[in-house]
Symmetry: C2
């Protein structure tokens, strides 16, 4: 399969509300009032965690059978720590984005803990969103 190009567009709406579209499907992003928004949707750093958690969940379901995992249920939580004083410009020492992200796997399967642990290790190494965080892609921009 040749390399694919994926894309998303962010259109500004009222205030900080943002309509994001990819292949005709839309999600609404906003900020909570404490960060200047009106809570019309999760915010970008929460959407990043949702992308990461959903990617791991999908890898789990797509590859369970191949790895001999009899998956009964899977839930993936992601939690990230971020100091808003960074992007708010209040502390030049603070990191702008997340300093730490933890993934918590809730997996029920008819397998041993060791088999589940090995499968989670596979998921961690085979998740496109996790890899994009771990191994930074070439990031470029242009103004049109």
């Amino acid at each position: 399969m040749p390399a694919m190009t994926f894309s998303a567009t962010a259109e500004a709406a009222d205030g900080l509300t943002t309509r994001c579209t990819a292949r005709g499907m839309t999600i609404t992003i906003d900020e909570p009032p404490s960060l200047g928004g009106t809570d019309q949707g999760m915010n970008p750093v929460e959407a990043l965690l949702a992308a990461l958690a959903s990617c791991k969940s999908i890898v789990a379901r797509a590859f369970a059978r191949k790895h001999g995992i009899a998956l009964r249920s899977v839930r993936v939580d992601c939690e990230g720590v971020l100091d808003p004083d960074g992007f708010l410009g209040r502390n030049p020492e603070a990191k702008i984005g997340y300093s730490e992200i933890e993934t918590i796997y809730h997996i029920e399967a008819d397998n041993t803990p060791e088999e589940i642990a090995a499968f989670v290790e596979f998921i961690e190494g085979n998740c496109p969103v996790d890899d994009t965080l771990t191994n930074t892609p070439k990031l470029i921009y242009r103004i049109v």
Copy 2:
């Protein structure tokens, strides 16, 4: 402001469909049929681009006035290149996630091109999602 913890939960639904929730707000993630899903929503790597594009759009609107930018409109597109043969296990040489992500800024403002370029440079350096990609956070996981 102390460091904040953000979180998102991915609950498995039918097939590869995934319900992601953060602070009670939900987005649906899925895959296209070509990748085993039923197109109930954008997929995780598109959601990652949506998070990135929306973050830059929000930084633009939140900081325009402070930077003397008379913003009339802003649209941010993000495009990422990914070789599915990586995560599909068909090519061990292929990167699992994005190899390149390009951001395209469409900005209308009552400012010179130089002022807009300087402002975009600020956005690029002050976007929490971009920073999380550029400067990899500590990534950990646990199984419960």
